[in-house]
Symmetry: C2
Subunit: 182 residues, 2 copies
Protein backbone atom coordinates (compact mmCIF):
# COMPACT_ATOMS: atom_id res chain seq x y z
CA UNK A 1 0.00 0.00 0.00
CA UNK A 2 1.08 3.54 -0.73
CA UNK A 3 1.09 6.09 2.07
CA UNK A 4 1.63 9.85 1.96
CA UNK A 5 3.19 11.15 5.19
CA UNK A 6 3.14 14.80 6.19
CA UNK A 7 5.39 16.53 8.72
CA UNK A 8 3.30 19.71 9.04
CA UNK A 9 4.85 23.16 9.15
CA UNK A 10 3.76 26.52 7.82
CA UNK A 11 7.25 27.62 6.71
CA UNK A 12 8.51 24.15 5.76
CA UNK A 13 6.16 21.21 5.32
CA UNK A 14 7.69 17.79 4.67
CA UNK A 15 5.92 15.27 2.46
CA UNK A 16 7.03 11.65 1.96
CA UNK A 17 5.45 8.99 -0.24
CA UNK A 18 6.31 5.37 0.56
CA UNK A 19 5.12 2.03 -0.79
CA UNK A 20 5.10 -1.10 1.36
CA UNK A 21 3.29 -3.71 3.38
CA UNK A 22 3.59 -4.37 7.14
CA UNK A 23 6.75 -6.29 8.07
CA UNK A 24 8.31 -6.01 4.62
CA UNK A 25 10.85 -3.72 2.96
CA UNK A 26 9.40 -0.28 2.17
CA UNK A 27 10.34 1.62 -0.97
CA UNK A 28 10.61 5.33 -1.58
CA UNK A 29 8.25 6.82 -4.14
CA UNK A 30 9.05 10.52 -3.70
CA UNK A 31 9.63 13.22 -1.16
CA UNK A 32 9.11 16.96 -1.09
CA UNK A 33 9.39 19.99 1.12
CA UNK A 34 6.77 22.69 0.56
CA UNK A 35 7.98 26.16 1.50
CA UNK A 36 5.91 29.24 2.19
CA UNK A 37 7.23 32.74 2.86
CA UNK A 38 6.74 33.92 6.47
CA UNK A 39 6.38 37.46 5.08
CA UNK A 40 3.28 36.54 3.08
CA UNK A 41 -0.37 36.73 4.15
CA UNK A 42 -1.58 33.72 6.11
CA UNK A 43 -4.28 33.17 3.48
CA UNK A 44 -1.74 32.91 0.65
CA UNK A 45 0.46 30.58 2.67
CA UNK A 46 -2.38 28.22 3.56
CA UNK A 47 -3.67 28.32 0.00
CA UNK A 48 -0.27 27.35 -1.42
CA UNK A 49 0.03 24.52 1.09
CA UNK A 50 -3.50 23.31 0.32
CA UNK A 51 -2.99 23.36 -3.45
CA UNK A 52 0.38 21.63 -3.34
CA UNK A 53 -0.78 18.89 -0.95
CA UNK A 54 -3.98 18.37 -2.95
CA UNK A 55 -1.90 18.07 -6.14
CA UNK A 56 0.51 15.60 -4.52
CA UNK A 57 -2.37 13.43 -3.28
CA UNK A 58 -3.87 13.46 -6.79
CA UNK A 59 -0.49 12.67 -8.38
CA UNK A 60 0.51 9.80 -6.09
CA UNK A 61 -2.93 8.34 -5.30
CA UNK A 62 -1.99 7.08 -1.83
CA UNK A 63 -4.23 4.59 -0.01
CA UNK A 64 -4.04 6.74 3.12
CA UNK A 65 -2.47 9.83 4.63
CA UNK A 66 -0.45 10.01 7.88
CA UNK A 67 0.07 13.37 9.62
CA UNK A 68 2.19 14.15 12.67
CA UNK A 69 -0.02 15.02 15.62
CA UNK A 70 0.67 18.50 16.93
CA UNK A 71 1.44 18.83 20.60
CA UNK A 72 0.83 21.76 22.87
CA UNK A 73 4.15 21.04 24.60
CA UNK A 74 5.90 22.52 21.55
CA UNK A 75 7.08 26.11 21.46
CA UNK A 76 3.83 28.03 21.88
CA UNK A 77 4.75 30.64 19.27
CA UNK A 78 5.42 28.14 16.49
CA UNK A 79 2.70 25.69 17.47
CA UNK A 80 -0.01 27.89 15.97
CA UNK A 81 1.46 27.69 12.48
CA UNK A 82 2.10 23.96 12.89
CA UNK A 83 -1.50 23.42 13.99
CA UNK A 84 -2.78 25.38 11.00
CA UNK A 85 -0.54 23.48 8.57
CA UNK A 86 -1.66 20.17 10.09
CA UNK A 87 -5.30 21.16 9.57
CA UNK A 88 -4.58 21.83 5.89
CA UNK A 89 -2.82 18.44 5.56
CA UNK A 90 -5.59 16.49 7.31
CA UNK A 91 -8.16 18.29 5.18
CA UNK A 92 -6.28 17.56 1.93
CA UNK A 93 -6.46 13.84 2.71
CA UNK A 94 -10.06 13.92 3.93
CA UNK A 95 -11.27 15.90 0.92
CA UNK A 96 -9.77 13.24 -1.34
CA UNK A 97 -11.85 10.65 0.55
CA UNK A 98 -8.78 9.04 2.14
CA UNK A 99 -8.46 7.78 5.71
CA UNK A 100 -6.18 10.12 7.67
CA UNK A 101 -4.20 8.90 10.69
CA UNK A 102 -2.20 10.99 13.11
CA UNK A 103 0.85 9.85 15.07
CA UNK A 104 2.76 11.52 17.87
CA UNK A 105 6.47 12.18 17.31
CA UNK A 106 7.38 9.49 19.85
CA UNK A 107 5.14 6.89 18.18
CA UNK A 108 6.99 7.56 14.92
CA UNK A 109 10.43 7.45 16.57
CA UNK A 110 9.57 4.20 18.36
CA UNK A 111 8.30 2.58 15.17
CA UNK A 112 11.37 3.59 13.14
CA UNK A 113 14.26 3.35 15.61
CA UNK A 114 12.85 1.24 18.45
CA UNK A 115 13.07 4.19 20.84
CA UNK A 116 10.54 6.97 21.40
CA UNK A 117 13.43 9.15 22.61
CA UNK A 118 15.49 8.93 19.40
CA UNK A 119 16.89 12.20 18.03
CA UNK A 120 16.41 13.62 14.52
CA UNK A 121 19.77 12.21 13.31
CA UNK A 122 18.85 8.66 14.38
CA UNK A 123 15.49 8.91 12.63
CA UNK A 124 17.11 10.23 9.43
CA UNK A 125 19.75 7.51 9.53
CA UNK A 126 17.15 4.73 9.98
CA UNK A 127 14.94 6.14 7.22
CA UNK A 128 17.96 6.16 4.89
CA UNK A 129 18.72 2.51 5.72
CA UNK A 130 15.11 1.31 5.66
CA UNK A 131 14.49 2.82 2.21
CA UNK A 132 17.98 1.79 0.97
CA UNK A 133 18.81 5.36 -0.08
CA UNK A 134 22.30 6.34 -1.23
CA UNK A 135 22.25 9.47 0.93
CA UNK A 136 20.02 10.86 3.70
CA UNK A 137 16.99 12.77 2.44
CA UNK A 138 17.55 16.54 2.58
CA UNK A 139 16.18 18.71 4.09
CA UNK A 140 15.45 16.83 7.31
CA UNK A 141 11.72 17.71 7.20
CA UNK A 142 11.46 15.23 4.33
CA UNK A 143 13.04 12.47 6.45
CA UNK A 144 10.44 13.01 9.19
CA UNK A 145 7.63 12.81 6.63
CA UNK A 146 9.08 9.55 5.24
CA UNK A 147 9.37 8.19 8.79
CA UNK A 148 5.66 8.96 9.32
CA UNK A 149 4.73 7.09 6.16
CA UNK A 150 6.84 4.04 7.15
CA UNK A 151 5.40 4.15 10.68
CA UNK A 152 1.89 4.13 9.25
CA UNK A 153 2.61 1.20 6.94
CA UNK A 154 4.09 -0.85 9.79
CA UNK A 155 1.76 0.18 12.59
CA UNK A 156 -1.29 1.59 10.99
CA UNK A 157 -2.37 -0.72 8.20
CA UNK A 158 -5.00 -2.38 10.31
CA UNK A 159 -5.83 0.75 12.24
CA UNK A 160 -6.51 2.79 9.13
CA UNK A 161 -8.86 0.12 7.78
CA UNK A 162 -10.82 0.19 11.03
CA UNK A 163 -10.90 3.97 10.98
CA UNK A 164 -12.08 4.09 7.39
CA UNK A 165 -14.88 1.63 8.19
CA UNK A 166 -15.86 3.67 11.23
CA UNK A 167 -15.81 6.90 9.20
CA UNK A 168 -18.04 5.37 6.54
CA UNK A 169 -20.38 4.12 9.23
CA UNK A 170 -20.70 7.54 10.86
CA UNK A 171 -21.01 9.20 7.48
CA UNK A 172 -21.95 12.83 7.50
CA UNK A 173 -24.20 12.63 10.55
CA UNK A 174 -21.43 14.06 12.67
CA UNK A 175 -22.59 17.56 13.26
CA UNK A 176 -25.69 19.60 13.56
CA UNK A 177 -25.94 23.20 12.62
CA UNK A 178 -27.76 26.06 14.20
CA UNK A 179 -29.11 28.61 11.84
CA UNK A 180 -30.56 32.04 12.56
CA UNK A 181 -31.91 34.30 9.89
CA UNK A 182 -33.81 37.50 9.90
Amino acid sequence: MRVLGVDPGLTRCGVGVVEGVPGRQCTLVAYYVIYTDPGDDLALRLLHLDRTLTDLVAEHQPRSVAVERVFSQHNVRTVMGTAQASAVAVLAGARAGLPVSTYTPSEVKAAITGSGQADKAQVTSMVTRLLKLDAPPRPADAADALALAICHIWRGGTRSKLEAAAARHRGSATASQHRGKR
Copy 2:
Protein backbone atom coordinates in the same frame (compact mmCIF):
# COMPACT_ATOMS: atom_id res chain seq x y z
CA MET B 1 -20.31 45.57 1.07
CA ARG B 2 -21.12 42.14 2.46
CA VAL B 3 -18.71 40.55 4.93
CA LEU B 4 -18.64 37.03 6.35
CA GLY B 5 -17.11 36.96 9.85
CA VAL B 6 -15.84 33.78 11.48
CA ASP B 7 -15.20 33.19 15.19
CA PRO B 8 -13.17 30.00 14.76
CA GLY B 9 -13.64 26.97 16.98
CA LEU B 10 -13.45 23.25 16.36
CA THR B 11 -16.41 22.36 18.59
CA ARG B 12 -18.43 25.53 17.94
CA CYS B 13 -17.59 27.87 15.07
CA GLY B 14 -19.56 31.12 14.81
CA VAL B 15 -20.37 32.63 11.42
CA GLY B 16 -21.97 36.06 10.88
CA VAL B 17 -22.91 37.71 7.60
CA VAL B 18 -23.37 41.48 7.67
CA GLU B 19 -24.04 44.09 4.99
CA GLY B 20 -22.86 47.69 5.36
CA VAL B 21 -20.51 50.51 4.47
CA PRO B 22 -18.01 52.26 6.78
CA GLY B 23 -19.66 54.78 9.11
CA ARG B 24 -23.22 53.72 8.28
CA GLN B 25 -25.80 51.42 9.83
CA CYS B 26 -24.97 47.72 9.27
CA THR B 27 -27.67 45.14 8.62
CA LEU B 28 -27.80 41.47 9.53
CA VAL B 29 -27.93 39.00 6.67
CA ALA B 30 -27.62 35.72 8.61
CA TYR B 31 -25.76 34.00 11.37
CA TYR B 32 -24.86 30.41 12.13
CA VAL B 33 -23.01 28.22 14.56
CA ILE B 34 -21.33 25.16 13.07
CA TYR B 35 -20.95 22.32 15.56
CA THR B 36 -18.67 19.30 15.35
CA ASP B 37 -18.57 16.38 17.74
CA PRO B 38 -15.41 16.25 19.92
CA GLY B 39 -15.73 12.45 19.84
CA ASP B 40 -15.29 12.31 16.07
CA ASP B 41 -12.07 11.95 14.08
CA LEU B 42 -10.23 15.22 13.49
CA ALA B 43 -10.47 14.61 9.73
CA LEU B 44 -14.27 14.37 9.83
CA ARG B 45 -14.56 17.46 11.99
CA LEU B 46 -12.33 19.59 9.73
CA LEU B 47 -14.12 18.26 6.65
CA HIS B 48 -17.54 19.22 8.04
CA LEU B 49 -16.26 22.68 8.95
CA ASP B 50 -14.67 23.12 5.51
CA ARG B 51 -17.77 22.04 3.63
CA THR B 52 -20.16 24.16 5.68
CA LEU B 53 -17.98 27.30 5.46
CA THR B 54 -17.45 26.78 1.73
CA ASP B 55 -21.22 26.41 1.26
CA LEU B 56 -21.94 29.56 3.29
CA VAL B 57 -19.40 31.57 1.27
CA ALA B 58 -21.02 30.32 -1.95
CA GLU B 59 -24.52 31.04 -0.63
CA HIS B 60 -23.87 34.58 0.65
CA GLN B 61 -21.22 35.72 -1.85
CA PRO B 62 -19.45 38.07 0.58
CA ARG B 63 -16.96 40.64 -0.70
CA SER B 64 -14.48 39.55 1.95
CA VAL B 65 -13.96 37.27 4.94
CA ALA B 66 -12.87 38.33 8.45
CA VAL B 67 -11.47 35.73 10.87
CA GLU B 68 -10.50 36.16 14.51
CA ARG B 69 -6.74 35.91 14.92
CA VAL B 70 -5.75 33.09 17.23
CA PHE B 71 -3.48 33.94 20.11
CA SER B 72 -1.01 31.74 21.88
CA GLN B 73 -2.01 33.39 25.17
CA HIS B 74 -5.21 31.33 25.05
CA ASN B 75 -5.58 28.09 26.95
CA VAL B 76 -2.87 25.94 25.34
CA ARG B 77 -5.06 22.83 25.25
CA THR B 78 -7.90 24.48 23.32
CA VAL B 79 -5.71 26.72 21.17
CA MET B 80 -4.74 23.82 18.89
CA GLY B 81 -8.33 23.21 17.82
CA THR B 82 -8.95 26.93 17.46
CA ALA B 83 -5.84 27.30 15.28
CA GLN B 84 -6.94 24.37 13.12
CA ALA B 85 -10.48 25.77 12.74
CA SER B 86 -9.07 29.20 11.86
CA ALA B 87 -6.92 27.62 9.14
CA VAL B 88 -10.03 26.01 7.64
CA ALA B 89 -11.89 29.35 7.76
CA VAL B 90 -9.04 31.35 6.20
CA LEU B 91 -8.69 28.66 3.52
CA ALA B 92 -12.42 28.66 2.73
CA GLY B 93 -12.24 32.39 2.00
CA ALA B 94 -8.95 32.19 0.09
CA ARG B 95 -10.10 29.25 -2.05
CA ALA B 96 -13.12 31.32 -3.09
CA GLY B 97 -10.70 34.02 -4.23
CA LEU B 98 -11.76 36.45 -1.49
CA PRO B 99 -9.50 38.74 0.56
CA VAL B 100 -9.23 37.40 4.11
CA SER B 101 -8.46 39.70 7.04
CA THR B 102 -7.71 38.71 10.60
CA TYR B 103 -8.42 40.77 13.72
CA THR B 104 -7.38 40.26 17.31
CA PRO B 105 -10.15 39.98 19.91
CA SER B 106 -9.22 43.39 21.33
CA GLU B 107 -9.35 45.06 17.91
CA VAL B 108 -12.88 43.71 17.50
CA LYS B 109 -13.94 44.77 21.00
CA ALA B 110 -12.51 48.25 20.52
CA ALA B 111 -14.24 48.68 17.16
CA ILE B 112 -17.63 47.56 18.51
CA THR B 113 -17.72 48.90 22.07
CA GLY B 114 -14.98 51.54 22.12
CA SER B 115 -12.96 49.47 24.60
CA GLY B 116 -10.52 46.66 23.89
CA GLN B 117 -11.23 45.35 27.39
CA ALA B 118 -14.99 44.90 26.90
CA ASP B 119 -16.48 41.59 28.08
CA LYS B 120 -18.57 39.15 26.03
CA ALA B 121 -21.87 40.57 27.36
CA GLN B 122 -20.96 44.11 26.29
CA VAL B 123 -20.01 42.93 22.80
CA THR B 124 -23.26 40.95 22.46
CA SER B 125 -25.29 43.92 23.67
CA MET B 126 -23.64 46.32 21.20
CA VAL B 127 -24.02 43.87 18.29
CA THR B 128 -27.73 43.58 19.14
CA ARG B 129 -28.12 47.39 19.13
CA LEU B 130 -25.96 48.01 16.07
CA LEU B 131 -27.87 45.49 13.96
CA LYS B 132 -31.25 46.56 15.52
CA LEU B 133 -32.08 43.00 16.52
CA ASP B 134 -35.11 42.20 18.69
CA ALA B 135 -33.04 39.88 20.89
CA PRO B 136 -29.33 39.06 21.32
CA PRO B 137 -28.01 36.46 18.87
CA ARG B 138 -27.79 33.03 20.45
CA PRO B 139 -25.46 31.22 20.99
CA ALA B 140 -22.85 33.84 21.88
CA ASP B 141 -20.36 32.47 19.31
CA ALA B 142 -22.63 33.95 16.65
CA ALA B 143 -22.47 37.40 18.30
CA ASP B 144 -18.66 37.34 18.18
CA ALA B 145 -18.73 36.41 14.49
CA LEU B 146 -21.16 39.28 13.77
CA ALA B 147 -18.90 41.64 15.74
CA LEU B 148 -15.97 40.57 13.53
CA ALA B 149 -17.95 41.29 10.38
CA ILE B 150 -19.01 44.76 11.67
CA CYS B 151 -15.42 45.49 12.76
CA HIS B 152 -14.19 44.60 9.28
CA ILE B 153 -16.77 46.82 7.57
CA TRP B 154 -15.91 49.77 9.79
CA ARG B 155 -12.16 49.32 10.05
CA GLY B 156 -11.18 47.09 7.24
CA GLY B 157 -12.85 48.34 4.08
CA THR B 158 -9.79 50.21 2.92
CA ARG B 159 -7.38 47.69 4.39
CA SER B 160 -8.96 44.75 2.58
CA LYS B 161 -8.81 46.59 -0.74
CA LEU B 162 -5.10 47.21 -0.23
CA GLU B 163 -4.57 43.61 0.79
CA ALA B 164 -6.44 42.30 -2.22
CA ALA B 165 -4.37 44.47 -4.53
CA ALA B 166 -1.18 43.29 -2.83
CA ALA B 167 -2.29 39.66 -3.07
CA ARG B 168 -3.02 40.01 -6.77
CA HIS B 169 0.34 41.66 -7.26
CA ARG B 170 2.22 38.86 -5.50
CA GLY B 171 0.15 36.25 -7.27
CA SER B 172 1.29 32.69 -6.83
CA ALA B 173 5.00 33.47 -6.77
CA THR B 174 5.02 33.05 -3.02
CA ALA B 175 6.70 29.76 -2.51
CA SER B 176 9.23 27.49 -4.02
CA GLN B 177 9.19 23.75 -3.74
CA HIS B 178 11.92 21.25 -3.28
CA ARG B 179 11.44 17.96 -4.97
CA GLY B 180 13.36 14.74 -4.60
CA LYS B 181 12.61 11.63 -6.54
CA ARG B 182 14.33 8.33 -6.97
